[in-house]
């Protein structure tokens, strides 16, 4: 029973520290996934056609639905072929907004896409998807 109390207590303390660092100190990229990690995870899910986890990364304010995500995956496959690498880089970041450029390297070509993210429910979420350029 002492071990059980110890484990629960250590988890509670760790969660308390995480809450304080994020909510009080305003951390947006150390103890939470930074915007580039979210954007990269989003596009990795899209190119592997795992729309469920991709949809979980969308903001409530996003107008993209599952059909839009499917269309995005189709468009990337048409443009670049099978994507073999996804990399993301932060372009701009404020306390509650971020802009990330995602590079998709495919078998046929490479393209860059801009992703707008917003801080929502204690996490960065994808708000808007730009067309490829």
């Amino acid at each position: 029973m002492r071990a059980l109390a110890g484990v629960v207590l250590s988890a509670a303390v760790a969660l308390g520290i995480a809450y304080a660092v994020v909510e009080v100190a305003g951390d947006r990229e150390t103890l939470v996934s930074p915007p580039d990690a979210i954007a990269e995870a989003f596009y990795r899910s899209i190119v592997t056609r795992r729309f469920e986890p991709a949809a979980d990364l969308l903001s409530r304010r996003s107008d993209a639905d599952r059909d839009a995500l499917r269309a995005l995956a189709d468009e990337i496959a048409r443009n670049d072929g099978r994507v073999t690498d996804v990399a993301a880089e932060i372009e701009e970041r404020s306390a509650d907004r971020a802009r990330v450029t995602v590079t998709l390297r495919g078998e046929r070509s490479e393209e860059k896409r801009d992703v707008d993210l917003v801080w929502e429910d204690d996490a960065w979420r994808v708000r808007r998807l730009d067309n490829g350029n």
Partner: protein, 166 residues
């Protein structure tokens, strides 16, 4: 990704895991059971996600904390119930008795003659007939009870022989 942030995340993750593992009363790795192995596999994937910031630290704590709680509850159950112990850890298997191989035990543990000979050599035994009982324990260690005449001579016995010869 910023190297300093990776370092901070690794440090915090390490400290949390150390405290949680110590709190849960983890045994040594040498005494690991199949359940510990499963726990380690899942935990390593969670740590990977946490270090590369694929999940937030709070989510990592929630997932790993839940696993630690399950682990502690499982060990509380196995310390109170023999059935729970067998379910979680499996049973020791007799692989050799009175110098004879136990075919069903070897089959259950998927051991062949070479494996058995290897395990016996690790115990300093090169002939099966020296063994009264060999049991493969749940932590995959072989426990061996030798025949009386093949047990190593103790210093007390050596002293008695020396006294008799003197």
């Amino acid at each position: 990704m910023d190297l300093a942030r990776i370092g901070i995340r690794a440090f915090i993750t390490y400290v949390y895991l150390l405290i949680a593992a110590r709190s849960s009363g983890k045994r040594t790795v040498a005494e690991a059971t199949p359940f510990d192995f499963v726990l380690a596999l899942i935990m390593s994937d969670l740590i990977d996600d946490a270090l590369w910031a694929e999940v937030s630290f709070a989510r990592f704590v929630a997932a790993s904390g839940t696993l630690f709680v399950i682990d502690v509850i499982a060990r509380l159950m196995e310390s109170r119930s023999e059935t729970a112990y067998w379910l979680l850890n499996g049973r020791p298997t007799i692989v050799l008795a009175n110098g004879r191989k136990k075919a069903d035990g070897l089959r259950r543990e998927q051991l062949n003659d070479d494996d058995l000979a290897h395990l016996l050599r690790n115990e300093g035994i090169d002939r099966r007939h020296e063994v009264r009982l060999a049991v493969l324990e749940v932590d995959s260690q072989l426990s061996v009870i030798r025949n009386r005449e093949h047990e190593p001579v103790t210093s007390r016995e050596r002293d008695l022989v020396d006294e008799a010869l003197a």
